[in-house]
């Protein structure tokens, strides 16, 4: 695409101010959410060995999540302000409430699964945790899509599926690591299928975005993408090859797959920064929309050949600050 005009290559929108805790939370939140569903279903199926471990994985991941989120706040002591209101127009507000509900119910569910305490509360908490786990796994995609960042906003149809696949992948892999191989078949199936879907859905997303999707496969995001593919494919190969018989091999495969899921979240995260930094991704599509509207408003006949403004004295367009992190 031709480089759109810009103001000295300065970004039009601001890069997010979020730090490493956020992509890590995308991972832990997803793992917690999908693990809760895996746990409940395994329990229903009668596989208590797997269910207990999935509850533990869910509890661990959902326990870390608020710590990560609070530590990213500019004013961590004011984290409680997140619960001042419930606001549908803010996926972060909706997500905070989901996390509160999911965290509470998962804590009860995991405690009940391991100790047998709170039998009545546990019976309610388990399905609540499993159901809330589903939006917990995907709302983070809504959160980033609901911004002005081009690679996030324009990927709004695919990102939730990418994040959902990553959540299932993480939950399956974690359970496969923690569970004796004789009881871990559902976890392995889940991890293998979700790993494939993670790779496929992110490819679909990038294809559809076209030029706009370049930031997903340039610079640091490109290396993260390679790492994602390498980890998931190697991990899947190990898991599929000997995961059924050898616990150590299943564990190594599972760990690689989880690493792949983390790298995938980081790829999306960093690509957002890159696309916010380069004004071409913001201005390009908007300029095309404006020109299309104008062409529509002024039907053929009048060929306006006025020059497109002046030539800039300084070379603009290619971002002068592309090395900025």
């Amino acid at each position: 695409m031709t480089e759109p005009r810009s103001y000295y290559g300065q970004p039009v929108i601001k890069e997010p101010v979020w730090t490493w805790e956020i992509p890590l939370y995308f991972f832990t939140g997803g793992m917690a959410g999908a693990s809760a569903g895996l746990a409940l279903l395994s329990e229903i199926r009668g596989n208590d060995v797997l269910a207990r471990r999935a509850w533990a994985a869910s509890f661990g991941a959902v326990g870390i999540s608020p710590v990560l989120l609070i530590s990213d706040l500019g004013k961590p002591t004011r984290f409680f302000n997140m619960l001042r209101m419930f606001k549908v127009t803010s996926p972060m507000s909706v997500g905070s409430w989901i996390l509160v509900g999911s965290g509470t119910s998962t804590a009860l569910a995991a405690t009940n699964a391991w100790t047998g305490w709170f039998p009545r509360l546990g019976r309610v908490a388990k399905p609540v945790a499993a159901v809330l786990g589903l939006p917990l796994s995907t709302y983070t995609a809504a959160l980033v899509a609901n911004t002005a960042v081009p690679v996030w906003h324009e990927a709004r149809w695919e990102l939730p599926f990418v994040f959902g696949s990553g959540a299932a992948l993480s939950a399956g892999a974690a359970a496969a690591i923690a569970t004796p191989v004789t009881h871990a078949a559902p976890a392995r199936r889940l991890a293998l299928a979700a790993g494939a879907l993670e790779l496929i859905s992110s490819q679909v997303m990038e294809r559809r975005l076209g030029d706009l999707g370049e930031p997903y496969s340039e610079g640091l995001p490109s290396r993260l993408k390679l790492a994602t593919g390498a980890c998931i494919l190697t991990g899947s190969a190990l898991m599929g090859w000997r995961g059924r018989r050898s616990r150590p091999i299943a564990a190594v495969g599972g760990a690689l797959m989880m690493a792949g899921a983390v790298a995938a979240r980081w790829n999306v995260f960093r690509a957002g920064f890159a696309s916010a930094r380069d004004p071409a991704y913001t201005v390009g599509p908007q300029r095309a929309r404006v020109d299309a509207k104008r062409a529509h408003a002024e039907p053929a006949g009048r060929t306006d050949t006025a020059p497109p403004g002046g030539e800039p004295l300084v070379e603009v367009g290619s971002p002068a600050n592309s090395d900025r992190q």
Binding site: R5, Y7, Y8, V12, A34, M92, T138, A148, P160
Partner: protein, 301 residues
């Protein structure tokens, strides 16, 4: 009432004031930066030393936590419309209109000239304000004047508004953690005073007033400039039907918005939120189906 927003004037009832805003007429901006200084002084904003950029006279770079007014300097080589083409009478007419319109200051010199575009940028106080909509704490709110303000005693620095703003206005202040932006001098408005930048502006490039009246004034000014041969002159964010529903702070530009570092067709992300939630819900359901398939799909658990 002009340009009603979600919360204004309805939620204020009898306490609602007329919607106030800025009309920034960039065609008379002389780049003095008095607005930047006045804003910093009145609002006691910390220093933001950026160093020498080489971008003409712009060493402020952009709006942010510590810059609530930012003067952009654009240097362009442009044929002088007022002296080219048409009959001699037309040229004379245009030149006269240009002088009367106050255009001569930056279009001196014969033939190929260098044109300076200067524009004082500010928070747009959008009708559909993405920052306000995504704010999970309610720190960002709509005032009785229809403006958008951050309540600093509530902001917990989650940073969501920063990438949500289609203009890149908000940013987090280092060593403080909260986000800051133009308040349209909320404190002064309550005291029937105009904002500091508007008061300091020596050429009336920054005009403050009731939004409905400012829009009329802007239309009139646009007509004058177009008559003077400024074909690219345009009002920016003065249309209720644009992607942010029009803005409380709008502009008269002499070239396309992106030339000034402004997005040409900004859209409030909230407009796509139904799609976003639909996709998210569909993915959540798909995840549930996938989990059921994984657990119950095999022969043995």
């Amino acid at each position: 009432m002009q340009l009603e927003t979600h919360a204004w004037p309805s939620s204020y009832g009898g306490d609602a004031k007329p919607r106030m805003g800025f009309f920034t007429d960039t065609s008379v901006c002389i780049g003095c930066k008095a607005c930047e200084v006045a804003c910093k002084e009145w609002n006691q904003i910390p220093m933001s030393m950026q160093g020498f950029t080489g971008h003409s006279y712009d060493n402020t770079i952009d709006l942010g936590a510590n810059t609530w007014r930012h003067v952009a300097f654009v240097e362009q080589k442009l044929p002088l419309d007022a002296t080219e083409g048409g009959s001699l009478v037309q040229v004379a007419e245009r030149a006269g209109a240009a002088t009367n319109g106050g255009l001569a200051s930056y279009q001196e010199g014969p033939g190929e000239g260098i044109r300076w575009l200067m524009a004082s940028d500010v928070c747009k106080h959008c009708t559909d304000a993405a920052c306000l909509e995504v704010c999970p704490t309610g720190s960002l709110f709509r005032t009785e004047f229809g403006t958008v303000v951050v309540q600093e005693d509530i902001c917990n620095g989650c940073g969501y508004c920063v990438p949500a703003c289609p203009f890149g206005v908000l940013d987090q202040r280092e060593d403080d953690g909260r986000v800051w932006k133009c308040t349209l001098c909320y404190d002064r408005l309550g005291d029937d005073k105009e904002p500091a930048c508007a008061q300091a502006c020596p050429t009336n490039s920054i005009q403050f007033g009731e939004l409905s009246e400012l829009r009329e004034r802007a239309e009139h000014r646009l007509g004058t400039l177009q008559q003077a041969g400024q074909e690219k002159a345009q009002l920016y964010l003065a249309d209720d039907d644009d992607g942010v529903g029009g803005a409380g702070a709008f502009f008269l530009l002499l070239d396309e918005p992106e030339v000034y570092g402004l997005p040409p067709d900004p859209v409030d992300t909230r407009r796509d939120l139904p799609q976003i939630y639909a996709a998210t819900a569909a993915a959540a359901v798909a995840l549930g189906v996938g989990l059921v398939a994984a657990v119950f799909g095999g022969r043995r658990g």
